[in-house]
């Protein structure tokens, strides 16, 4: 169902979707020009939770900025930290011990599973189904407990340090993670039966919110959005970093291009993440978790570098420009959600409001990550 908005000569009206609206998951505002329930134009208005993290990155030392990274994409906070510490390490030439890289991968992938589970629940709520969220949160709770034990936080993690991680993991974490992987595997068929095969869910996803691979490229959309459109672009494979090259895993891709494609990618990604976690736990090497001789006040040499990681939402990039002082000269944080949301305006034209909101939900937006 769509409307030809090009040749519209009828009266339209404007609806403010947000900044407080159940479907926008936070303070996103979308200015909708509508003809009945058809969307003629949808202009996202950003900045309601803008905190100028990039300025904060410039006026405090590298280490003092670390906690800020958990406040951007708070649903998958470890990826932001990972991108930031890795960018600074790259610039300062710090080598991270193997064990620390493994722990980073394990915790990041756990965070990815947690993030996708949260998305799964929230997306079903967007579609009007309330129950799956609680099941997803039940599983997510186990991850949060595991991560809490090693990082000390449940949401806004600040665990990675320049040259390693803050705490070593213990035997409880290792065994707990094994238990979680087994449990999560056994839960996947339930999600498939409960959600994927539900006829109403399929009607709301299949063929709705089609985004072509070319649109994704032109707008810079990454992560499950571009993979749901058939492009196997995953930073973990394209620019292997950390310990990822050591593990066997597939890039989850779907060429459906619609909401269902993005849903499938995320669900398959949970399974792939479990594979990575299992391998990393099995191969976890011994040794220190912090590089030796990382100076207390880090002063990377003059210059700049770029580092990006595959966050749960796409390619999260950090460009650090250093002038050899304690503070970064410039810190650019490239948020995946900003680009993912950008294509909404073009793709939602002519759609019905409920379908457009189903597509908005399938983009998996975290508003503080967009506004930074």
């Amino acid at each position: 169902m769509s409307l030809d908005v090009q040749n519209l000569d009828r009266e339209t009206f404007v609806v403010n979707l947000g900044p407080q609206h159940p479907a926008t998951h936070g303070v996103l505002r979308i200015k909708l020009t509508m003809d009945g329930e058809y969307i003629v134009d949808a202009e996202p208005v950003l900045g309601y939770i803008h905190r100028m993290h990039e300025k904060m990155g410039e006026n405090r030392s590298y280490a003092k900025f670390l906690p800020n990274m958990g406040r951007m994409d708070y649903v998958a906070a470890l990826f932001n930290s990972h991108g930031y510490v890795a960018a600074v390490e790259r610039l300062a030439g710090i080598t991270v011990p193997e064990r620390a890289e493994f722990i980073r991968v394990i915790t990041c992938e756990l965070n990815r599973v947690a993030s996708h589970l949260l998305w799964l629940g929230a997306y079903l709520i967007d579609l009007g189904g309330f129950t799956p969220m609680l099941y997803a949160f039940d599983d997510r709770e186990m991850i949060l407990d595991l991560l809490e034990a090693v990082t000390g936080a449940r949401l806004t993690f600040c665990y990675f340090r320049f040259g390693g991680v803050a705490n070593d993991v213990d035997e409880n974490f290792v065994s707990g993670t094994r238990v979680f992987v087994a449990r999560m595997r056994s839960r996947m068929p339930m999600y498939e039966a409960f959600v994927s095969k539900n006829i109403i869910f399929r009607k709301r996803c299949e063929g709705i919110g089609v985004i072509s691979a070319e649109t994704c490229r032109r707008y810079g959309a990454t992560g499950p959005v571009i993979r749901g459109s058939g492009v196997a672009y995953d930073v973990r494979k394209a620019e292997p970093y950390s310990a990822y090259p050591r593990f066997q895993f597939n890039v989850a891709v779907s060429d459906l291009c619609d909401n269902m494609g993005r849903y499938r990618v995320r669900v398959d990604e949970i399974v792939e993440s479990l594979r990575i976690i299992e391998q990393a736990i099995d191969q976890l090497p011994g040794g220190p978790v912090m590089a030796e001789k990382v100076p207390r006040s880090l002063k990377p040499p003059k210059g700049d570098c770029y580092f990006n990681v595959e966050s749960a939402r796409g390619s999260f990039g950090v460009r650090v420009v250093s002038d050899a002082t304690e503070n970064a000269y410039r810190l650019k944080l490239r948020s995946p959600c900003l680009s993912n949301l950008h294509l909404f305006r073009e793709c939602s034209r002519g759609m019905l409001l409920p379908d457009a909101l189903a597509m908005l939900g399938s983009l998996d937006l975290v508003i503080p990550d967009i506004d930074r």
Binding site: V15, A23, E37, I125, L127, G129, T131, F201, P354
Partner: protein
Amino acid sequence: MRMEFVLEIARVVLYVVGILAFVGFNASYLVLLERKGSARFQLRHGPTEVGPFGLIQPVADAVKLLCKQILIPKNVDVILFFMAPILVLLPAILCMVTIPFGATIAARNFNLGLLMVFAFAAFNVFGILIGGWASHNKYANLAAARVVAQNIAYEIPTLLIVVAVVMVTGTFNLQEIVAQQAGGFWRWNILRLDLNPLQPVAFLMYFICLLAETNRAPFDMVEAESELVAGAYTEYSGMTFGVFFMAEYTNIVLGCCVATVLFLGGWQCPFGLVPGPHWFLLKMYALCFTVIWVRWSFPRVQFYNLLNLSWKILIPVSLANIILTALMLKVF
């Protein structure tokens, strides 16, 4: 003569109080059942604090709603704004008058009871339409437009199905319809395959229509909280919202009552033993629970699929149902 008059007055008062109590009790305790039920579906506990197992929770809810300020937004049409919740609740209560809870328990035994139920039930849509329109809110307006399209689409198959049942029973009198189904569950209209082999399908369709007519998930287009914030109820607060809420549950009870009477044999026992109001309530609450069950199991359908379901599937099938019933009646 005088004695009869006094008795009649006493009877009316008794039934008015009885029906209001029944409606109020159901509206509040179905909410509790819904909260408890949804909690069980969702690995939660639901309300536990107020009273044992949270049984006093509806009282707390009612007190809260009554104490809340009723906000009247700017530019609303005040008269219509306040008329809307009453217009939704009142017909639902009126319909209760004719529901036969037992062989002798019915406020009024109308000959045209069934007709009256559906005449008043159709008022539901006016209330929500007026409320959505008077709210002066774009989301509410969209919801008002939706509710008209949805209710018209589902009124038709509901009535077509009921017509087929009436053709079988030959009466609009609810008491008589129940009385005809005496003798055991194989005598219930839902299983009268000898009269119409499509009867179970008709019941299923009636149940779908019931969900749509009462605006329950997965057909809750009127509220659609992730699309239209709270739809037609967006601007309502305090007890004005509470009345809408009561009306929703009263309509569910009413719909389930009618389904019980039409298809499940009303107060008849499934095995022909000890008929009575307990059977009626048991069947009715089982249906109510199913309504709740469906809500917590399915996401919301798209609006156009909702209309497609009605116009492309339910209406043709219910028309076929009528023709089949007519043929069966004529041939056998």
